[in-house]
């Protein structure tokens, strides 16, 4: 049965309408993974020597014990950002002679085959075998290996569970973040030391290897929790149908924009009334906080503005990443109708452009408080804003015309929602690249501030020339229209 399902998934991958894009991404990811794998092997083998150098004079085994939970915490965050939910179109199998348990088991086990589960093994097992095995004997090292293995399986299923449940209820996401931030804060300010806790735990393990059973129990519990959740929610859509009278809404303030206003109103209603786009938009709100990564006051004071530039682009354009990439795909369900209706392609593209502009404007207003960190951030953000509405938006729409996979907004199925994954990050890297291509040369020749002004000005001019862009993009759209329609029909 597992082989059949696997072969179906394999075929599904190659025969999908966006196979080309997926393959390209997978190859790129493949190279990245190979590189990381090689690094991990190197670190894993050299761990004893590394620890001796970094923590001279201390017992490296004790040090090792302290570090394990650090990696564990880091792993949770990394998985949350990058780990993809295992997906499967479940409906065709539901009526066949396959039990739900089999499907759920398949999904869960299949998800285990992941890069994230390989790395900790490669990193830690060599050390455990070489140092702990030698000093304390094979039984204890076995206990260690089992514990570490179980801990990561626990992590794996925990993150899957959290990702799934946040689709239904965003509050879980908030809760998760609060807990994570609390732990980080406690550790940073000395209230609770992860390292100490880790040391204590694993030192106990050194003496009583049987304690690994606790970890194994945790892993199994996490697996079953995930499984139970999926089995309980097999009835998919029915769960979240809300009762109550729906009323017609008219956005009169958009009326003065004419047809474009109508299209924007349509998009707004789409976001407000459908779970998936609504989650995507709310979920993206987290990205606003990434500003803290980019806006470092120390670096700014030194006059290095490049980081802040990237930060500005990221934060004022955050909605482009999760929503903008699928601009047309959100309307995939009724794209046929849109294309056959009395809307000119140019008007349609213009509507999308205005929507992105609105997103960016809202983002700009939301990120202005960063100015409290340093006044320099504000002009940089404004420049980034112009970059986003003038250049990033065009790139975004261009990419959207190459997206042939519709998003079925009526389905909030836990089985087919991928969540954010590596593809989004690749997109961000591309946008950063474009930004830096503009920024770096000018910064080199004329200095950082000139570069900021340059980026902003180019963006602004590009935005003022938007009609020209809309022309080009609608021509692109006209060429791709049929391909997009075909892809969207394949639901």
């Amino acid at each position: 049965m597992i082989f059949t399902l696997l072969s179906h998934q394999w075929k599904g991958f190659w025969r999908a309408s966006d196979a080309g894009k997926n393959i390209a991404i997978q190859i790129f990811m493949g190279f990245l993974m190979l590189y990381l794998l090689a690094s991990a092997i190197a670190v894993g083998l050299m761990l004893p020597k590394l620890l001796m150098q970094v923590f001279p004079g201390q017992n490296i085994i004790t040090v090792f014990c302290g570090l394990i939970l650090y990696y564990f915490a880091f792993d949770i965050i990394l998985r949350f950002m990058l780990q993809e939910l295992p997906t499967m179109v479940v409906q065709p199998y539901l009526v066949q002679n396959i039990s739900r348990k089999q499907i759920v088991n398949f999904l869960n086990l299949r998800s285990l085959v992941s890069f994230f589960n390989l790395i900790p093994i490669i990193l830690f097992v060599p050390f455990v075998v070489s140092e702990i095995g030698v000093t304390y004997g094979p039984l204890i090292s076995l206990g260690f290996v089992l514990t570490i293995f179980s801990l990561f399986i626990f992590n794996h299923f925990l993150i899957l569970f959290i990702k799934r449940i946040t689709i239904v209820n965003v509050l879980w996401l908030v809760g998760f973040f609060v807990v994570v931030l609390a732990f980080i804060a406690l550790d940073y300010f000395g209230g609770f030391s992860i390292r100490h806790f880790s040391s204590v735990l694993f030192n106990r393990l050194l003496t009583t290897p049987l304690l690994c059973i606790v970890a194994i129990a945790l892993a199994i519990a996490s697996f079953y929790n995930n499984r139970a959740y999926l089995l309980r929610n097999f009835y998919l859509e029915e769960m979240t149908k809300s009762e109550g009278q729906k009323s017609s809404v008219d956005y009169t303030w958009l009326n003065r924009f004419g047809e474009v206003g109508d299209l924007i109103a349509l998009d707004l209603k789409l976001i407000l009334r459908n779970k998936r786009p609504r989650s995507a938009v709310l979920y993206s709100g987290i990205l606003l906080f990434y500003g803290f990564f980019f806006f470092k006051t120390k670096v700014l004071d030194k006059g290095v503005l490049a980081n802040a530039m990237l930060g500005g682009i990221f934060t004022t354009g955050y909605l482009f990443i999760n929503y903008g990439q699928f601009l047309f795909a959100w309307q995939g369900n009724y794209f046929d109708g849109l294309m056959a209706s009395n809307i000119q392609l140019k008007t349609y593209i213009k509507g999308k452009l205005m929507l992105l502009t609105a997103f960016s404007t809202v983002a700009l207003l939301l990120t202005l408080p960063y100015g409290l960190l340093s006044w320099k951030i504000i002009p940089i953000e404004i420049a980034a804003y112009f970059f986003n509405i003038g250049i990033h938006s065009m790139v975004c729409i261009y990419f959207a015309t190459r997206n042939y996979k519709a998003i079925d907004i009526s389905k909030t199925s836990r089985f087919t929602f991928k969540g954010s994954g590596p593809a989004q990050y690749l997109y961000v890297l591309l946008i950063f690249f474009i930004g830096m291509v503009l920024y770096m040369p000018v910064s080199f020749l004329l200095g950082a501030w000139a570069a900021v002004i340059a980026v902003g000005t180019v963006g602004l001019i590009s935005f003022l020339l938007r009609d020209w862009w809309i022309d080009i993009l609608s021509k692109e759209m006209a060429i791709r229209k049929h391909r997009i329609l075909e892809g969207f029909r394949e639901k």
Binding site: Q245, K246, S247, S248, V249, D250, E259, D262, L266, K269, L270, R273, N274, N333, Y334, F335, D336, G337, M339, A340, S341, N342, I343, Q344, L345, I409, S410, K481, H482, R483, L485, E486, R489
Partner: protein, 231 residues
């Protein structure tokens, strides 16, 4: 009004649509019949430029539908639920469509009033989004949206399939009425031979992408069609 010139669309080596020459004149009610997979829906999609033709062209009022967007101004179509914006209430959808065709709310309301018997109270002021309506009612929304656009040509794919018998009768009456009052050109496809011979002035029989019969509606048409489909 519509000229089909040597149009061809193939999927995987097989011609789904392969028509050398066909004209549809203004004011005709043309019925398209054929077995499943004959190419009816694909032909409609070609007329609406939703599918790229592999050869040939379709002209609407003399202009190629693939290169000019003018046909959108006077063409209304409803092929399947994919044409509805299902997270809107029916009223919102009607006003949206009306606006696109420069009809005011009042004008749209007038048209909707004539639809009241057709809707049987299930659609207007229902407090539901279109996605929560039954399939048949969604279809009614689609048809009404077409009429609101006040088009010169309406294209409907299997309109009788999802309607209850009394609504089918009302639809037939409505289509005949539109043709008489407004000289509307109507293109419908159906598996229901009885209804289609009742309402159409001309019947095209499609098989494997080709139009094999072009019949002017008469009393014999029903017999002729039944003879074709008899095993």
């Amino acid at each position: 009004m519509i000229s089909i010139n040597n149009i061809g669309k193939s999927y995987g080596g097989q011609w789904a649509v392969d028509i050398a020459q066909q004209q549809i004149e203004t004011g005709e009610i043309v019925g398209l019949v054929g077995n499943n997979g004959a190419g009816k829906t694909t032909l409609f999609r070609l007329i609406l430029d939703l599918v790229r033709a592999d050869r040939g062209e379709i002209l609407s009022k003399g202009k190629n539908v693939a290169t000019s967007e003018d046909w959108k101004k006077y063409t209304a179509a409803y092929l399947d639920e994919g044409f509805l914006i299902n997270y809107l209430t029916p009223e919102e959808y009607f006003y949206f469509v009306g606006k696109l065709n420069n009809s005011s709310k009042a004008e749209v309301d007038e048209v909707l009033k004539t639809f009241e018997p057709f809707f049987e109270g299930a659609i207007l002021k229902s407090g539901k989004y279109i996605r929560d309506l039954s399939k048949g009612n969604q279809f009614k929304v689609g048809i009404a949206a077409c009429v609101i656009q006040n088009p010169e040509i309406i294209i409907l794919d299997e309109p009788f399939a999802n309607l209850d018998p009394s609504s089918q009768v009302r639809l037939i009456q409505m289509l005949k009425d539109l043709r008489e009052r407004k000289r509307m050109t109507i293109l419908i496809s159906s598996h229901d031979l009885n209804h289609i011979t009742e309402v159409c002035t001309r019947i095209l029989l499609m098989e494997k992408g080709l139009i094999i019969k072009d019949l002017k509606a008469s009393d014999d048409t029903l017999n002729e069609l039944e003879a074709y489909f008899r095993i």
